[in-house]
Subunit: 310 residues, 2 copies
């Protein structure tokens, strides 16, 4: 019997929900491209219920404990005295989330003598030291495609919101104002703008597809070029590197977006975003940082608008 | 020489902008469908500048005064003692906006002895008593298509934001929180949901086109059915009336959305919205009012979320 250690974010401040805005969620059989969605024999929860926080336990408690396994769930994941680090010592399986990651550093992996499997409940393995995992024979796995479409929707939502000045307009309203001109003065239409994605994998391509009918001019850069028929269908302009797509230095690879902002060469004519930089999505406009968002998580827009007007 | 009376919203609280987030806006030659955009011989402003507020004067002041006309611009439009009502007495042309309308009631039209033309700087004539206008020989005109795409973008943005719980998540953040579970518990993906539009004219059709790649099931109702090839291309389900599309009473025609909320029969499985109800866009989710928005204007989301959880 195994010990499964699961790191999840805290329950809602007001307690675990008793009911939901919707009675359920639509059923998805396949991901785009034809890959089948997971087909569990049975589930112990109602689709649409909150499972990602501690009390939800990803809907795994009954299943795992019914098979005699030990299932430990915690949100306490930082530092040597955290529940995660203590429970890790004899855990065989660790489950963590890309947007609330329990970092499996080389030091932690060295301490986790029984660890065999590190699962990302989502996509990505940035929070695992892959070299150390290989060295210790730890398998690292993810649920490929599970939230790619969700992130792509989030990206389109953010692009529209940033271009159209949605969040700052809402802020004006909750601050007691209703001054149309303040909202309008930096609100634009997305139509006919140039939009590029850094990487066009599952998420990036889904974003490009969704943006097509907005009549924008689409660009992308990726190590792997998309098939010609996809480029034609979406009228994509391919760039062999990010610098040729948009003049921002240090934007490619795993560079953290805010770092790129410091040395900026963008003009004020492009809306650019990335789907592949660490776990923070950053959006910028011209020479200003415009916002960050954890897809599927809380959303923050931090902008110095006074600087926009200089 | 004519007197032109123009009603615009107030300038920004901090004064008229000196600079903008962008250096300009993309050029649009044609609207979707091929209709040409306006082709003025020359313009006295830089595209992208704020023109809709009082000091902007829609970019018309130099043009009109250069031709010897009188150009009066005001934001004071309500009541008998308003600047609008006083200036209206000898005005020949009135220019107003759909989202900051100067109502031309029968009483006001009767007082405006010289009035020949009422122009909407945008789309719509809900703010003009058309019967009175006809009776007094006043021509009522609009700039067809001028903001249809803008509204359609706004609608898609709002649908994504409401489904994904964007605005309330932002509210949590500015209130000092960063509790993922509170955001997640009513955040969903749009994918595979049923989405319907009440009316599928320029705006509604543009919304449907933009939603197609989100892999939703699209519905619409309209007095005029769309061509078969459009229905096929977008995989639309046509409903001969709004009640057959979504079980909400009193939703069709010119009924104001909030009125429809009081007698509610919707289940919690549909996201519905309207592009044609007065000048307020309303969005609802299940049995709750979720938000309003003036397209192109300030955006307000007023929701009683506690009621969502009952």
């Amino acid at each position: 019997m195994a010990k499964v250690l699961c790191v999840l974010y805290d329950d809602p401040v007001g307690g675990y929900p008793n009911s939901y805005a919707r009675d359920g969620i639509p059923n998805i059989d396949r991901y785009p491209g034809g890959q089948t969605a997971p087909t569990p024999k049975r589930i112990d929860f109602k689709p649409g219920e909150l499972l990602g926080s501690v009390s939800g336990g990803l809907g795994l408690r009954k299943f795992l404990e019914g098979l005699g396994h030990t299932f430990v769930v915690t949100s306490d994941k930082e530092g040597e005295n955290s529940v995660f680090e203590r429970e890790l010592l004899d855990a065989e399986i660790v489950i963590s989330q890309p947007f609330w990651p329990a970092y499996l550093t080389a030091e932690r992996i060295a301490k986790a003598k029984k660890l065999k499997l590190a699962i990302t409940a989502g996509i990505g393995s940035d929070h695992v030291d892959l070299e150390a995992a290989i060295k210790h024979g730890v398998t690292v796995s993810e649920v490929t495609y599970s939230n790619s479409i969700s992130v792509s929707e989030h990206v389109v939502m953010m692009i529209l919101s940033l271009v159209r000045n949605y969040i700052p307009s809402y802020k004006l309203v909750i601050d007691g104002g209703w001054n149309i001109a303040d909202c309008i003065s930096r609100s634009y239409d997305l139509e006919a703008m140039e939009v590029g994605t850094v990487a066009a994998g599952r998420i990036g391509l889904a974003v490009l597809k969704r943006l097509k009918p907005f009549d924008v001019k689409l660009h992308y850069t990726d190590r792997h070029r998309l098939p010609e028929h996809v480029e034609e269908e979406l009228n994509l302009t391919f760039h062999s590197n990010v610098e040729s797509m948009v003049p921002v230095e240090g934007l490619g690879g795993s560079v953290h977006w805010p770092d790129a902002a410091s040395d900026d060469k963008t003009d004020k004519q492009s809306a650019i975003f990335s789907t592949a930089i660490n776990f923070i999505l950053g959006l910028r406009w011209g020479n200003q940082e415009l916002g960050y968002s954890i897809p599927g998580g809380p959303t923050s827009i931090e902008t110095n608008y006074s600087e926009l007007e200089r």
